[in-house]
């Protein structure tokens, strides 16, 4: 069974603390050409005599520094990464191979269209694939991540209402089970956010929309399946009522791993949605990026797509910037091409049937965890889940063991903690998304760890509340870090 063991890992100071005056990574040969004096070449205000405080290190110092830090790290290549709502699936190596092909990796971003037909064809192919998966008509690959996709979607919805002479439609309805970025994206675009409550069954009911179905309604911003891992069964009726009131339906596609290839958001009445290629389509999450968050829309909103748009000119493809109703440019060139190329490789490798199989296995895996753990961890709802399952610490609380303790203890068993305390509608939420890439054996090992922790919480709670003991750093002072953050290193510490 998977279990974290202590290995040879090193304490590692900051590069600044390792610095020794005069140490160098490499010695440059004396130049054979005359050296220019910067003072002759640059304006005075661009010059300075000394650069103070840069660390001075040898190449080996730097290699050891980053290698040691990398040993502190955890990733999907080490073990199951059950971070709910993040779809931490395995990133196939074939994707990397494709994105690194010299003809793609070395293409100059300013190459004229005629010299970039290959990459334009691949972009168009991915746009078509995402349109087919979503059941919508047109796609932009530009947004750099899901949250930017949300913003772009909101901008297009706003442009749509304004173009129709209804600029007062600025109110966005967001269920309390939606992703946390949704209200921020709508607010960033200057729209008014109204939270609508989910019912006791964790689902959004059409009646909850009633008070807001007026001439100020801009859109319903739905996450489906929602953050409780439940499919919004009333989605068609919700869409119908929103459309009748003159509004549009936006889908946060972060949970598309529960639908892809099996159900199409367009058929549910969705008008605009974003995709998280770094979730559903197996591209790296990176250290905060680069991501890729394409957006799909119905034809009625196509005029507002960001520029440039790929246009078919006979047999050739061209970038079209002459689109007066566009919301404008949202990213340089064609978005993060190196990322969406990986997603296209994934789509091509799996094909339509393969993508549907991904979805079925993701849903099966989450339900397997639910069935295997429901007798030891509380669940707020009885329904089957989709691609993720939410537990709570209700049964462990009487022994003084909280969700945070369970999450920390999982590290001792060799797992990245799940998403905790989200969604907010459930007290002490613990949200687990195994993804389809975990085998039955891998799921069973995780179940064994979770059951062992539940046993410890009952019999020796201090084992759980004192966790973790295995990682190089134990409990961090999260409160201190938030209240009195140290934002930069200073020589005296």
């Amino acid at each position: 069974m998977t279990q974290a063991r202590s290995g040879l890992v090193f304490e590692e100071p900051l590069l600044f603390e390792r610095s020794r005056p005069g140490r160098r990574g490499l010695s440059l040969a004396t130049p054979e050409v005359p050296q220019a004096d910067p003072a002759d070449e640059l304006e005075e205000d661009l010059l300075r005599d000394d650069v103070e405080g840069l660390p001075e290190l040898s190449e080996l110092d730097v290699v050891r520094h980053f290698t040691r830090l990398s040993q502190w790290n955890y990733g999907i290549d080490l073990g199951l990464f059950p971070l709910g709502s993040c779809t931490m699936k395995y990133n196939p190596r074939a994707n990397e191979r494709v994105a690194a092909l010299p003809g793609l990796a070395q293409l100059h971003p300013l190459a004229p269209d005629a010299d970039a037909q290959g990459v334009l064809a691949l972009a168009a192919e991915l746009e078509d694939a995402l349109a087919a998966i979503s059941g919508l008509d047109r796609v932009t690959l530009q947004p750099a991540a899901g949250a930017q996709g949300e913003l772009v979607g909101m901008m297009m919805i706003q442009a749509h209402h304004r173009a129709r002479g209804e600029p007062q439609r600025e109110r966005v309805l967001i269920p309390d089970t939606a992703h946390g970025t949704n209200p921020a994206s709508a607010a960033l675009n200057g729209m008014e956010v109204v939270e609508v409550p989910s019912g006791p069954d964790g689902l959004l009911h059409p009646e909850a929309l009633e008070p807001h179905l007026d001439e100020r309604l801009s859109a319903l911003m739905l996450t489906n399946p929602n953050t409780l891992g439940l499919f919004e069964r009333h989605v068609e009726e919700l869409s119908r009522r929103v459309h009748e009131a003159g509004g549009l339906v936006y889908l946060d596609g972060a949970n598309l791993n529960a639908l892809m290839g099996v159900a199409r958001p367009g058929d549910m009445g969705v008008d605009v949605m974003h995709f998280n290629l770094h979730k559903t389509f197996s591209t790296p999450h990176g250290g905060g990026g680069p991501g890729s968050g394409p957006v799909a829309v119905r034809e009625a909103l196509a005029a507002h797509l960001p520029i440039p748009v790929i246009r078919r000119d006979g047999d050739a493809l061209a970038l079209d910037e002459d689109r007066p109703q566009s919301i404008g440019r949202v990213h340089a060139f064609l978005g993060n091409a190196g990322i969406w190329l990986r997603a296209l490789a994934y789509v091509r490798a799996l094909g339509a049937e393969g993508l549907a199989e991904v979805t079925r296995c993701a849903v099966l895996n989450a339900n397997y965890l639910q069935a295997s753990l429901s007798d030891v961890y509380a669940r707020p709802h009885r329904q089957r889940v989709m691609h993720e399952v939410v537990f709570s610490d209700e049964r462990q609380q009487p022994n003084g063991v909280t969700t945070a303790d369970i999450a920390k203890r999982l590290m001792d068993y060799g797992y990245h903690p799940p998403t905790v305390y989200f969604p907010l509608v459930l007290s002490g939420a613990l949200m687990v998304e195994p993804t389809e890439t975990e085998s039955l054996e891998s799921l069973d090992e995780f179940v064994a760890a979770m059951r062992a922790i539940a046993g410890e919480a009952a019999e020796s709670p201090e084992t759980v509340t004192g966790a973790p003991t295995t990682p190089i750093l134990r409990r961090l002072d999260e409160v201190g870090a938030a209240r009195k953050p140290k934002l930069r290193w200073t020589p005296e510490g």
């Binding site: 209700e394 305390y421 907010l424 007290s427 999260e478 409160v479 938030a482 209240r483």
Partner: protein
């Protein structure tokens, strides 16, 4: 649910979004309840309105952020913000330590002092909290 006991002073009125209000010298002093601070756990940041801001009842006027969650602050009464608790800038932990004392958030000049009567009493709020915890 574990049995937790909370402090809901009789001299305050309460909202279903877990704020308290207390009239003092014609001003309505406001904060978040003992239950709210306990659910949020350690508060690390409080975003407050400007002095002089006009609030409507039910309007979001700020945000309280903990290591676990971020919660909106909802105005229980309409009125003008006449003071904010600037001590919270450096010591947000006061919201946890003394939710009804030094952890107060804002003082309103209420448009209608009587409106406070429509809010929940301590006893009503206690029942509301118990019902919500599924006790």
């Amino acid at each position: 649910m574990s049995e937790k006991s909370y402090d809901f002073p009789e001299n305050c009125r309460y909202t279903d979004s877990d704020e308290w209000v207390r009239l003092e010298d014609g001003l309505a002093l406001m904060g978040i309840t003992d239950y709210a601070q306990s659910e949020l756990s350690d508060v690390v940041y409080v975003e407050q309105p400007e002095v002089g801001a006009q609030l409507e009842a039910g309007q979001n006027f700020g945000v309280v952020e903990s290591v676990k969650a971020v919660g909106d602050l909802v105005a229980p009464l309409a009125g003008e913000v006449v003071r904010i608790n600037t001590e919270l800038e450096d010591s947000p932990e006061l919201v946890n330590e003394e939710p009804y004392g030094r952890g107060w958030l804002i003082a309103l000049q209420p448009e209608d002092e009587e409106a406070v009567e429509s809010l929940m009493t301590a006893e009503e709020y206690l029942r509301h909290v118990e019902a919500r915890s599924g006790a």
